[in-house]
């Protein structure tokens, strides 16, 4: 069974540019989560999809971040315009049971904003 995949693995952009991150969850997992870890900080929850619906987006830092999951399969996280403080590692995770702490994480996308 394929795990959670994320693309790209690395991205280097300039401040003010736009970047779109993609996550492909494990097939059949309705729950998809985005997290990020900025330098020196803990991994922070961003939002949670159930199928194509945003169940909880309380962790989204501001309106420069837009997450979508059209069709309830893969998800994208767009940052527009990117700022220096957006640099970090963005993780996606998926699970079958929203009440379980056993989430399957992808390898992350390392974003560097210059």
């Amino acid at each position: 069974e394929a795990g959670v995949t994320q693309f790209p693995s690395h991205s280097v952009i300039e401040k003010g540019q736009t970047v779109t991150l993609r996550c492909d969850p494990i097939s059949g997992h309705d729950n998809l989560y985005w997290y990020r870890r900025v330098m020196g900080k803990e991994i922070k929850f961003l939002l949670h999809f159930v199928k194509e619906s945003k169940q909880d987006e309380s962790g989204m830092p501001n309106n420069r971040f837009l997450a979508e999951r059209t069709g309830g399969t893969y998800s994208t996280l767009k940052v527009q315009p990117a700022e220096l403080e957006d640099s970090g590692v963005y993780f996606c995770a998926s699970s079958q049971d929203p009440g379980s702490g056993a989430q399957y994480f992808g390898p992350g996308t390392r974003l560097l904003v210059l």
Partner: protein
């Protein structure tokens, strides 16, 4: 604010010894805790979880202990192997965790180093 934190940033143990990684939490209403392992270049990997109605849970070579009185949990790894080298995170989940109802709230992490 409420947080899940770790006592030590780095723990070095001899191969074959047992490892104990500690974690403290601050919200007495927290009721669900999870341990994750993160190897270099990979995403976090679920190890074991425990709910507040239990004080101990065992998995394969791992045991999690929960002390609700002092708001402390620990992960014990038996007979540590080189493949156990990783950063270990305790995490919390639930409406009181600060990570959204279904999001995980992670601690800072402890880097476990296995000495040959």
């Amino acid at each position: 604010g409420e947080s899940v934190g770790l006592h030590l940033p780095t723990l070095s143990v001899q191969e074959g010894d047992n490892s104990i990684i500690n974690c403290a939490y601050s919200n007495s209403a927290s009721d669900y805790f999870i341990w994750y392992k993160q190897e270099s270049g990979k995403g976090p990997q679920f190890i074991i979880d425990i709910r507040s109605n239990m004080d101990k849970r065992q998995g394969q070579r791992v045991t999690v202990l929960l002390n609700k009185t002092v708001k402390h949990l620990s992960l014990q790894i038996a007979a540590t192997q080189p493949g156990d080298s990783a950063v270990y995170f305790c995490a919390e989940m639930g409406e009181n965790s600060g990570g959204g109802a279904d999001g995980l709230t992670f601690g800072k992490g402890t880097h476990l180093i296995i000495q040959p």
